[in-house]
């Protein structure tokens, strides 16, 4: 009896320790980023580009912030509509063998290493055009976002009550209008959530950009997608591995900015999910 109870207590202890083991690194990482970065982030830091070598302090990360925003914009433009339409297909007509294949490949694609997506776009675009470019980086991010949007949107579309569709079809509304005017609006807020989460995920990616967008110490124009472009993760990666103190400090502060951007998209997505029209 006592041995059984002791085992039970030990098991409970293991579970509590497990929770702590996961939460302690989280607290340390976020704590360090804030502790090291908060003192450096300033208006200048947010609005000036990087200085020209790692030994210099000062300057900022504006090239990275602007690059990240540009890349996310184009990647979203490519991946989000495609993903939503593919999800509509799966939800409306997704029963045959083709649909099973699409679902399966979508799952498989979400497991593709992000570095591989980088070398794929490199061999497809960069090798052909002969230069690094922001649009190739955006394309790489779009490839990573696509499966997230599809699966996320499909989950939400599934929750739209069947009665809505039936009511619309019974009124003689054609299928395509039912889908676009009834089903899609009903799931809209949930789809926005899925889209936001995919953007948050893409914002933090480094590996797909190394050989596509490449990085740039200059600030590029908003519509200039043909030049190589910086991104916050790239900038953090290069500054972090530098041996110089000013660069490492810049990496910490840039990490704080990056985490803030990721959190904004995540929280935006989650709060919109809270106001969903339909719940399961």
């Amino acid at each position: 009896m006592t041995r059984r109870r002791l085992t039970d207590q030990l098991a409970t202890g293991w579970m509590i320790v497990s929770v702590l083991v996961a939460l302690v690194p989280l607290a340390f990482i976020l704590g360090y980023v804030v502790y090291k970065g908060a003192g450096i982030v300033s208006w200048t830091f947010l609005t000036k580009p990087e200085p020209f070598d790692f030994t210099h302090s000062g300057g900022g990360v504006w090239n990275g912030i602007k690059g990240t925003l540009k890349l996310l914009f184009l990647a979203s433009l490519l991946a989000i509509p495609t993903g939503i339409l593919a999800a509509l297909y799966l939800n409306e007509f997704g029963r045959g063998r083709f649909a099973t294949a699409v679902r399966f490949v979508t799952d498989v694609m979400s497991g593709v290493p992000s570095i591989f997506v980088g070398i794929f776009i490199y061999s497809l675009i960069v090798l052909e055009t002969g230069h690094f470019s922001a649009y190739s980086g955006a394309l790489a991010l779009a490839v990573l976002m696509l499966p997230i949007v599809i699966r996320g949107a499909e989950e939400v579309l599934k929750l739209v009550p069947h009665e809505l569709r039936e009511a619309s079809l019974a009124l003689g509304v054609p299928r395509w209008r039912t889908v676009l005017r009834v089903i899609l609006p009903a799931a809209a807020s949930g789809i926005v959530t899925a889209a936001m989460l995919s953007v948050a995920r893409a914002a933090g990616e480094t590996a797909p950009l190394l050989f596509t967008s490449f990085g740039n110490r200059f600030v590029t124009g908003w519509s200039d997608y043909g030049s190589p472009d910086s991104a916050l993760p790239l900038l953090i990666f290069r500054n972090a591995r530098s041996a110089y103190e000013p660069a490492q400090q810049r990496a910490w502060a840039a990490a704080l900015v990056l985490i803030a951007i990721v959190l904004v998209f995540t929280i935006l997505g989650r709060t919109l999910a809270g106001r969903r029209a339909f719940r399961s």
Binding site: A22, V33, L85, G111, P113, R175, W176, A207, P233
Partner: protein
């Protein structure tokens, strides 16, 4: 306004604002039941059906994008890397020496590092993830459960470059001094713990990877544990089982396939993780039994060498990228099959 726009964007016979289409649209938009009934009596027009048909084809086309992208990924990279496969063949995975200047491309040490770091990550992460999943679903009060799920998800939201930054500048020096050195001085006679202990090592990369995959494994373990029927748990408790005995006899066997699947998905993620590993692994192409030695993984060698590489060297890096892709896909597919089977078996 809106239906007009969406119809106009539609390919197929109904693309133009034809007069028949126009009148149909107004009929369907009228909510009056009389009009609806009237419409039901009529057989559906050919035009309406062909619009639905083209809509279906349009959606199918977008769904096909994922298939095209995945196929293109494999074909294009393999095509560009083909000379390497042709020239080196199996040597790519059986030889250890990687020296681009000498046309030596053996990736065995990278494969070793990839597998070793991922195995370390799994060994560390899986017990923790199962513990969290059981705690969250079976032990924690409701409010704490919501908070914990949210926090563990937050762990997944942290970008891998931030893990790398923290791992390199904070965790690595700490582990070297307070963990790897003491362990290797006490247990150094065992080959895997042999000194001299280095912070930049397989072990440090394994620890970082473990932290990164905990959210993935936990999420799936939580899902399958939540699927265990209440009857089974209550039956165990009614027979006088303690909570642990209930978990061990009723919950864990039921959730086993799902947990294995989740573990494999975590393993797949660890195999392909690049940036965090590239920052802490040390970048030394060697096969050492000691986990406290610097090494290399496939993903991190690509990240580190690609931008300085030219010509054949780039193709060789693409070739080992294809290798990594194939391995992770296989692991992922196996993991998915387990998770699917678990979910279906329990439904």
């Amino acid at each position: 306004m809106q239906p007009q726009a969406s119809r106009d964007s539609e390919p197929g016979p109904r693309a133009g604002p034809g007069s028949l289409g126009e009148s149909m649209t107004t009929t369907t938009e009228t909510p009056a039941p009389a009009a609806a009934l009237e419409r039901l009596k009529r057989p559906r027009s050919r035009l309406g059906r062909s619009a639905d048909q083209s809509f279906r084809w349009l959606l199918t086309g977008f769904a096909a994008v994922v298939l095209v992208v995945l196929a293109l990924m494999l074909v294009r990279t393999t095509y560009v890397a083909w000379p390497v496969f042709q020239q080196h063949g199996l040597e790519l995975i059986t030889k250890q020496r990687w020296f681009p200047g000498d046309n030596a491309f053996g990736a065995l040490s990278f494969i070793y590092g990839t597998v070793l770091t991922s195995v370390i990550a799994i060994l560390l992460a899986v017990p923790v993830s199962i513990g969290i999943a059981l705690f969250v679903t079976e032990v924690a009060p409701r409010r704490l459960r919501v908070l914990l799920v949210y926090l563990v998800e937050l762990l997944a939201a942290v970008p891998s470059v931030v893990y790398g930054l923290w791992g390199l500048l904070v965790l690595l020096p700490w582990l070297e001094r307070h963990a790897w050195e003491p362990i290797s001085s006490v247990l150094g006679f065992i080959p895997i713990f042999a000194g001299p202990a280095n912070g930049r090592s397989f072990a440090t990369a394994g620890v970082i990877l473990a932290i990164m995959i905990i959210p993935i494994v936990t999420a799936i373990a939580r899902e399958v544990v939540a699927l265990v029927p209440h009857d089974h748990k209550e039956a165990a408790l009614a027979l006088g089982a303690t909570r642990w005995e209930m978990l061990r006899l009723a919950v864990i066997p039921y959730a086993r396939a799902g947990i294995i699947g989740g573990t494999m998905l975590g393993f797949g993620r660890a195999l392909g993780e690049t940036i965090a590993v590239a920052l802490v692994i040390g970048g030394n192409p060697q096969i050492s039994a000691s986990i406290f030695q610097p090494g290399y993984t496939i993903a991190s060698v690509i990240a580190n060498q690609f931008n300085e590489a030219t010509g054949f060297h780039i193709q060789a890096l693409l070739a080992i990228g294809v290798l990594l892709f194939v391995i992770t896909i296989l692991v992922n597919v196996a993991g998915r099959v387990f998770v699917w089977r678990a979910a279906r078996g329990l439904a």
